[in-house]
């Protein structure tokens, strides 16, 4: 079925405003927003935390928390006004005409009802089918979402399926009635990259197959490029810009979009790195909005007139809307990036043995479980050189965090050795002298838990200074204030308690605390992954700046390949407790790749629609660390599986240029030949 482009949009939102009634008064969380989505079109709603993107979507279909209220506007689905409907009419509409997919598939499904019955319920309720027909419909839908063995899946309970499979079930459920509108609220955020890629492929395909208009909510600019035709950028409850996807990335016409694109590290396998764009300040409270343009206080193109009146979202080009009155002054991204960022230290190559600060040799961490042994870390050899960053990348369950915990002594290793400057480290923190403890510090993943809620910021930073640095209180206080400034926090934060800080600020304090001990190495365990993109960018800048100043080494752990490639000198790719590939960053990011690295590279959603990634998708999910496959542990999912040899024999380390090593049966030149097309960066074509 083809639809003429001029046809009426399926879903129209006009001048929608949503309020929350709170004890502080009415909060105007979303104000006067409009958007339109056509059939087979997907509209991406991007924005940082608190930008109101979910409120917009849920307010539009009138599915709000009890204190939420649609204050004004008009919402039409296939021409039917939603805002005047009675609760009963609305309930009939939800489910039948509107499907919703949430972030967490596990909580979207009832854990005590088998998948098949849950999905059939939707068919019975909204399609009026009898049990047999409903079962048939469920089977058909599960087949459509590429579920292997739908019959078996229908008998299972939610906890028996992996995250990716569950999300497919939820999508099947949402599409069961062929709804006119499908709302997807961060549906892949909780999934691993390789699973995410599979789900994104599926959504892209279903978009063509089903008649639904898709409203896709995400904070991830990379995901947007994979799914969306049109994108709306939200900020503090209003649209800043709306445009076609390519248009938005190529020529953003709002300073906020421009900044947002600059916050994300560009995929760049060359040794030269530039800092990332930082947006000063933070998103304003919705009850304390500035008088003029709401982005004006943080904008680099602001002029006096911007603070007077709020510019409306207006068409500036065909299909391109911007809420900036100076949109003509907004430069092209490349030009802006050159001006707004600076060259930072280039990537170094791996060092000699004499400069190795921390070395792990055949480290194993095995846990005893009731039904066997969990081999969380299973023979890891890594070197961290002085003043360098070793990036460790892998999916959840790869054991990357456990390696860091074994190094710092929080989780005792069960085999192998770890040395610091050539001296063996005791297994647990309790047996290490203070001089050793001082050398290794850690920045944790969860900023909310890494600071003691009852201790002030100053206390947190001073403690390592007095305990490990041997300073008296007065000198420690002076030093703590210096450290606060070096992590770009005002000295007035010294007396604050953690709950008065934002996530990014807490993480800055945690970084200051780590640096207070003047360590040789800081283990960064996903320090930025729970934060917004703009905050991520400024923290990465901070980490790089401090590294140059303090000559500290980092072990940077992340599942985010973009961040790892931006920060690291040496990259190690881990899978199921074992290193698959390790080497200088530039070598690891260019062919030859280990087949697993290749799959990661093709799965990671890069925030650049021009990069061509060959779709290599991994089958199944990461096996349990209790049941590590024989031979090469990657063989059951490997797209380049050679058969018996991979299944039966542990692969050899194949040595490449420099320190580049790949743990694979396939020779390097063969891999290089096969992988020339995996990742094509547009820049190369132009050059």
């Amino acid at each position: 079925m083809t639809v003429p482009a001029a046809s009426r949009p399926v879903f129209e939102v006009e001048g929608l405003s949503v309020d929350y009634v709170t004890e502080l008064g009415d909060l105007h969380a979303v104000r006067n927003v409009s958007l339109a989505i056509h059939q087979h079109e997907s509209f991406g709603l991007v924005g940082e935390s608190g930008s109101g993107k979910s409120t917009l979507a849920m307010g539009a279909i009138r599915y709000l928390a009890s204190n939420g209220r649609v204050a004004d506007g008009s919402v039409r689905l296939n021409g039917v006004e939603l805002l005047g409907l009675s609760p009963k009419e609305l309930r009939a509409l939800w489910g039948a005409k509107i499907g919703v997919v949430y972030q967490s598939p596990l909580s979207a499904l009832n854990p005590s009802i088998p998948i098949g019955r849950q999905l059939a319920e939707v068919a019975r309720q909204h399609l009026g089918m009898d049990s047999a027909a409903a079962r048939g419909r469920v089977q058909e839908m599960l087949t459509k979402v590429a579920m292997p063995d739908p019959d078996a899946v229908m008998k299972r309970y939610p906890h028996q399926l992996s995250g990716g499979m569950l999300q497919r079930c939820v999508i099947a459920m949402a599409l069961m009635t062929n709804p006119a509108l499908l709302i997807m609220d961060e549906p892949t955020t909780a999934l691993d990259v390789t699973t995410q890629a599979v789900v994104l492929d599926l959504v892209a395909e279903l978009k063509r197959e089903f008649d639904s208009a898709i409203l896709y909510i995400t904070h991830d600019l990379g995901v947007i490029t994979k799914i969306c035709d049109r994108v709306g950028v939200m900020y503090a409850g209003e649209f800043m810009e709306q445009a076609q996807l390519k248009e938005l990335f190529k020529r953003p016409l709002h300073p906020y979009t421009l900044d947002l694109l600059g916050c994300v590290p560009h995929f760049d396998p060359t040794p030269q790195k530039r800092s990332l764009v930082t947006i000063p300040g933070s998103i304003p409270r919705v009850d304390q909005l500035p008088a003029g343009c709401i982005f004006a206080p943080r904008c680099s193109f602001v002029e006096a007139a911007c603070t007077k009146a709020r510019p409306p979202l207006a068409a500036v080009d065909k299909g391109h809307l911007s809420a900036c009155r100076r949109w003509q002054a907004v430069p092209p991204p490349a030009e802006y990036l050159r001006a707004a960022t600076e060259a930072v230290r280039g990537v170094q190559t791996a060092c000699d043995t004499s400069d190795v600060l921390v070395r792990t040799s055949d480290v194993q961490v095995h846990f005893k479980a009731p039904k066997g042994t969990v081999r969380a870390v299973d023979g890891v050899d890594l070197d961290v050189c002085e003043g360098q960053t070793l990036g460790v990348v892998g999916e959840s369950g790869s054991g990357k965090t456990t390696v860091a915990r074994a190094i710092i002594g929080l989780t005792p290793r069960t085999g192998g050795s770890i040395t610091l400057k050539g001296e063996s480290l005791p297994r647990t923190t309790g047996r290490r002298p203070r001089s050793t403890l001082r050398q290794i510090q850690m920045v944790f993943q969860n900023p909310d838990a890494s600071l003691n809620p009852t201790r002030s910021v100053g206390d947190a930073i001073m403690r390592p200074l007095t305990l490990l640095g041997g300073l008296d209180r007065r000198r420690a206080k002076d030093r703590a204030l210096e450290l606060l400034q070096s992590v770009s926090l005002p000295v007035s934060y010294f007396d604050r308690l953690p709950h008065e800080l934002s996530g990014g600020e807490k993480q800055r304090v945690a970084i200051a605390r780590a640096f207070a001990a003047e360590p040789g190495i800081i283990l960064c365990d996903e320090p930025i992954s729970s934060l917004d993109v703009s905050v991520q960018g400024s923290l990465m800048n901070l980490l790089m700046k401090l590294q140059v100043e303090q000559k500290t080494s980092y072990l940077f752990i992340s599942h985010d390949l973009s961040a790892v490639q931006h920060l690291s000198d040496v990259i190690a790719v881990v899978y199921l407790g074992h290193v698959m590939e390790v080497g200088d960053a530039t070598k690891v990011l260019t062919p030859p790749f280990h087949p697993y690295t290749e799959a990661l590279l093709s799965a990671v959603p890069l925030a650049d629609p021009d990069v061509k990634q060959k779709p290599i998708r991994l089958a199944g999910s990461v096996p349990s660390a209790m049941n590590v496959p024989s031979g090469c542990r990657f063989h059951p999912r490997c797209p380049r599986n050679l058969g018996d040899v991979c299944r039966e024999q542990e692969p050899p380390w194949r040595e490449g240029d420099g320190d580049h090593r790949i743990f694979c049966h396939i020779p390097l030149d063969e891999l290089e030949r096969l992988q020339a097309e995996t990742l094509v960066l547009e820049a190369e074509e132009g050059a």
Binding site: S54, A190, S450, R455
Partner: protein, 312 residues
Amino acid sequence: MVEPNVTDELFDTAIMDEEAVKGFSEPEQQERPKTWRLYWRRLLRRPAALVGTVIFCFFLFLAVFGPWIAPYDYEKQDADLRLAAPTLSHPFGADQFGRDILSRIIVGTRNIFLLGGSGTAVAVLIGTAIGLFSGYIGGTTDEVVMRLLDVLLSFPSLLLALVLLSTVGPSSLNLVFVVAILYIPMVARVVRSMVLDLKNKEFVEAARVRGETRSYVLFREILPNALPPLLVEASMRFSYSIFLVASLGFLGLGVQPPSPDWGLQINLARNFFAIAPWVLLFPACTIAVLVIATNLMSDGLRQVMLPGGGRN
């Protein structure tokens, strides 16, 4: 995996409590409400809790200043006033020895607070210590300690109190220890569950990585964060202990006469209930009012200090 938009969810779908609003949008806020002021503001919004707190404070005041406030000497017997009905000069009437009931109730407050309060205090001190160490050490030690406490818990508390008191004999000191023994397991369980939750938090791991001693980690890092639930638990234990002390007094195992113990007064007044019900009713009502007020207060404390969580 990570959930990058926790604040976003709070903002978008959660019930917009005051905290949620703060969470999403005021990291840079200038005005800095202190924790205690926040508790106070929340308390003001809960009338029941506020009333409970006011009544509790009133009784606390009586406990401290009772002997000076009481209109008459609580021991003074007046044959003319035997079982006298309430009048303006003796608003609660007089008992079988002609003693002013109001005065006896006022002066008796101190007994209840002293016995229940010190029993609870001892229970909180010992229970906290047990809970902290047992939870933090974990493993077999924890298992053994908790099972031993379970044994204590498995007896009905009044029965256990009777058995213990009839063995060691009723005295104020013994009463305090009996209250303590009864409540140690409950306090220890609450503290232990907090420790289990806190000991794997990153800030505690950061302390271990710094090489802090075990006692520093326990008392400086963990305990302060366990204080709000501990305080709530302590106030609940206190309200139960009032009841327990009064019950033991009623059964004759509490404070011995002629002390103005409420439970004891009720017991002795039983014989005259038909002719002079006020002798029984006023002390009984006082106990009820204090217990209900303390309960309201501890419920309020729970809502104020542990909003959302801690409801069991």
